[in-house]
Amino acid sequence: MPFHIPQEEEYKDYAVVMKGIVKQFPRVLANDHVDLYVKRGEIHAIVGENGAGKSTLMNQLYGLYNADEGQFLINGNALLINNPKDAIAVGIGMVHQHFMLVGPLTVAENIVLGDEPTRMKSFFDLARARKEVKKISEEYGLKVDVDSKIEDISVGTQQRVEILKTLYRGADILILDEPTAVLTPQETEELFVVLRNLQNDGKTIIFITHKLNEVIAVSNNVTVMRGGKVTGQIPTSETTPRELANMMVGREVLLRVEKEKKEPGEKTLEVTGLKVNDNRGLPAVKGVDFEIRKGEILGIAGVAGNGQSELEEALMGLRKKEGGTVHFNGLDITTASPRDIREARMSHIAADRFKYAMVKEFTVAYNIALGRHYKQPFAEGGFLNHKNINAISNELVKKFDVRPTEIQNPAENLSGGNQQKMVVAREFDYNPLCMVVSQPTRGLDIGAIEFIHKTILELRREDVAILLISMELDEILSLSDRIIVMYEGEIMGEVKPHEVSLEELGLMMAGSTLEQARSEAHDE
């Protein structure tokens, strides 16, 4: 039975109806006459690539953006939602991809913020806030410690706080934006249990994701978006991940890249007993050992916040090492500066593109010169050689399909995918012997992802030693020759991709050692 598009009389059975939504941003039409129909009490998934317009659509439902055109009907009533307060008033709550929590305040304070219980109208009644939060926490089975500060609790717990925020305000319609991006496979399962319980309680849930297996696992209906338009509406039971992917991209999609067999060469990077602290001075990497050989891709799997970014920064000299050594082709680079490390022919695709990998105000050409801007061919005797800078940039932009090709364009004008391609082009052009690649395809569309995966495999073919850090298990499994799992700054085990199951990986990412994971998985 295909997806049923309701008639007007049926709108009252639908928690959310959005009709003809148009939203224009300065350079892009984010929502192009979008229709959305969400029945009351269902779990509805919205899928699409990054930039398809899913988040924009939901932000309008929650009142953070205002639609240029279109109608909103909640439970059959047409209304205007101009700001979050309006949305909250009709029972809509939203859990954002990047949590909206205030670090130094407690769980209770965060949950009641904006709707605080008061004494004498002005004074904040903390006691009552704590009591009320404890109550709904127990009612919905979302365990939290109401007095701990947000900055001290885990990511999974923070998400529970975000969900409680919506329930505290009486949300009947919950919007979750990429909720599993920061969770381990187990935590994701737990989240699904919570969602099904909420559904049993009569809540309606809309969640945005790009992970197709999750859509199949938990949703009732799916809406597919591409380029600002809706390209598919279908009951989950009647579709497959392959079909959804095709609707998302508009063509046949290869979900996995082809990797050739290769014998790795000699040791290139050797890390021994590495210890690194985080920004608060607490240990984030607690004595890690690994090595990478020529022509080999070592993948580090793990959920965000387990020390990967500190590891990445320490390897490239951007963060102090508290202990341990790093050897690169026999050279001790433990205390080397970022410049020395680059001079030794290590390059780096950073996870945080905006913070590290590019200067958004600089032109594409200047960004490509970054890191080699003081030496030939980009400079001579302290003076920049603009002719060479431009020539090399033009060449790279063409080779790596960066669009638009105008190299004097400030980098901030490029789309995310093209910015990443620019960064990859630059790091590739370093002709490195070893590359640290972190989250290379986060937030990119399938076309860019395919391209970057191909580039990484080409580097592997040319005998570059590659460290791949990623939170996308599919990416790790399809590209790596060997995989190590990081949990709370330690390595839980090393496996080969074809020798391990998703479940075992998930258990290691949540803290089990390889042996424990193997036995636990076999017990089932």
Partner: protein, 355 residues
């Protein structure tokens, strides 16, 4: 950050016009009599101002004399802005530069001019550079905000230099001023007119502007300075030594301010006065903002403010206190800083979405 090139020139110009309009309202308010009489007063005030700035050879010389240190302090602040540091300490750096240069120059009688003058300038630039370097060092190593540290250094410099020419280095006569410098250290003149003279300090200032332009747009150093100013994390990622750059930028900035003070001494006063740098360091901020941190914009802005300052002296004779210029300047800075405010007024804000 405006991304349209013409807007970067238009916004300062519009800010200036608005500031002048507001100043006109103030002048009319302090005038007397009927509106017509007050309007006359306003016209007379502005006429006197323009005459005072450009009316005759002496006026032009005075404008150029005022303009010279402004170019340098403007460059000092502007160069700092490029690297993301806000150098409010040009006042103090100028004073320290002027004082040390003067002390050197007073004792330079035995040196020939072509040695004394360059050496004096170097001494002054070093002093200014070191003074600013203190703030740069503190920022790089402890993260101390350079606005507060440079302002404190301003007050410290003011007290030190004042004390220096009140007691140990006083020329006598009860005024806080130093002895006169040796004639070998005096800058030769470019123009003279009756009793007034104008040194070729202006040429030195313009040369400095050209040098800074070359550094910023043509050299690796300039690339690094800009990278650090836009995104220090990415700069570090690209192998740039952020600490070194911050300190170096502050030092260059301070050297420019120090040079400004030095030229005032060896080209104009031939000695150091306690109030030598008074206000010119802060003017550097307006100049840098109006000139959008671009060396040639800074030259243009210096001409404007220099003209305003010279002209306002003339304006006093018709009864408009010269503080009006500070008011005009502050409004300009305010508007340039709140550039979106100007854009709103002009209706240039593209609507981002129905609201």
């Amino acid at each position: 950050m405006t991304n349209k090139k013409w807007m970067r020139i238009a916004i300062p110009i519009i800010s200036i016009i608005i500031a002048l309009l507001i100043a006109s309202i103030i002048i009319i308010w302090i005038g007397e009599g009927s509106f017509a009489q007050r309007f006359d007063f306003l016209v007379k005030a502005y006429t006197e101002m323009v005459k005072g700035a450009f009316g005759n050879k002496t006026a032009i010389m005075n404008t150029i004399i005022k303009m010279t240190p402004l170019i340098l302090t403007g460059l000092a602040v502007g160069f700092g802005f490029r690297a993301g540091v806000f150098n409010i300490g040009a006042e103090g750096q100028m004073a320290m530069g002027a004082l040390t240069a003067t002390i050197f120059a007073v004792n330079a009688a035995s040196l020939p001019s072509f040695v004394a003058i360059p050496l004096t300038m170097i001494v002054g630039m070093l002093a200014g550079g070191v003074w600013a370097g203190i703030a740069g060092f503190l920022k790089a190593k402890t993260g101390a905000h350079e606005v507060i540290t440079t302002i404190m250094l301003n007050w410290i410099a003011y007290n030190i230099t004042n004390w220096a020419v009140t007691d140990p280095f006083n020329a006598g006569g009860g005024i806080p001023k130093s002895p006169e410098i040796a004639s070998s250290a005096k800058l030769p003149n470019l123009l003279t007119s009756q009793a007034s003279f104008m040194s070729f300090g202006i040429l030195i200032a313009i040369t400095a502007a050209v040098v800074i332009y070359i550094i910023l747009y043509k050299t690796s150093m300039g690339y690094e300075v800009k990278a650090v100013g836009f995104n220090p994390y990415a700069a570090e990622y690209g192998g740039i030594n952020v600490s070194k750059n911050i300190i170096l930028t502050m030092a260059i900035s301070g050297a420019l301010a120090g040079l400004a003070g030095t030229l005032e001494s060896i080209g104009l006063y031939y000695r150091f006065y306690g109030t030598l740098s008074s206000g010119k360091g802060f003017d550097g901020i307006s100049i840098a903002l109006i000139g959008q941190n671009n060396p040639f914009g800074i030259i243009a802005a210096s001409l404007l403010i220099g003209g305003l300052r010279t002209g306002s002296n003339q304006m006093q004779f018709v009864g408009v206190p010269k503080h009006i210029v500070m008011i005009i300047q502050s409004i300009i800075i305010f508007l340039v800083a709140a550039e979106r405010m100007v854009m709103s007024i002009m209706g240039w804000n593209r609507k981002k979405g129905a609201k």
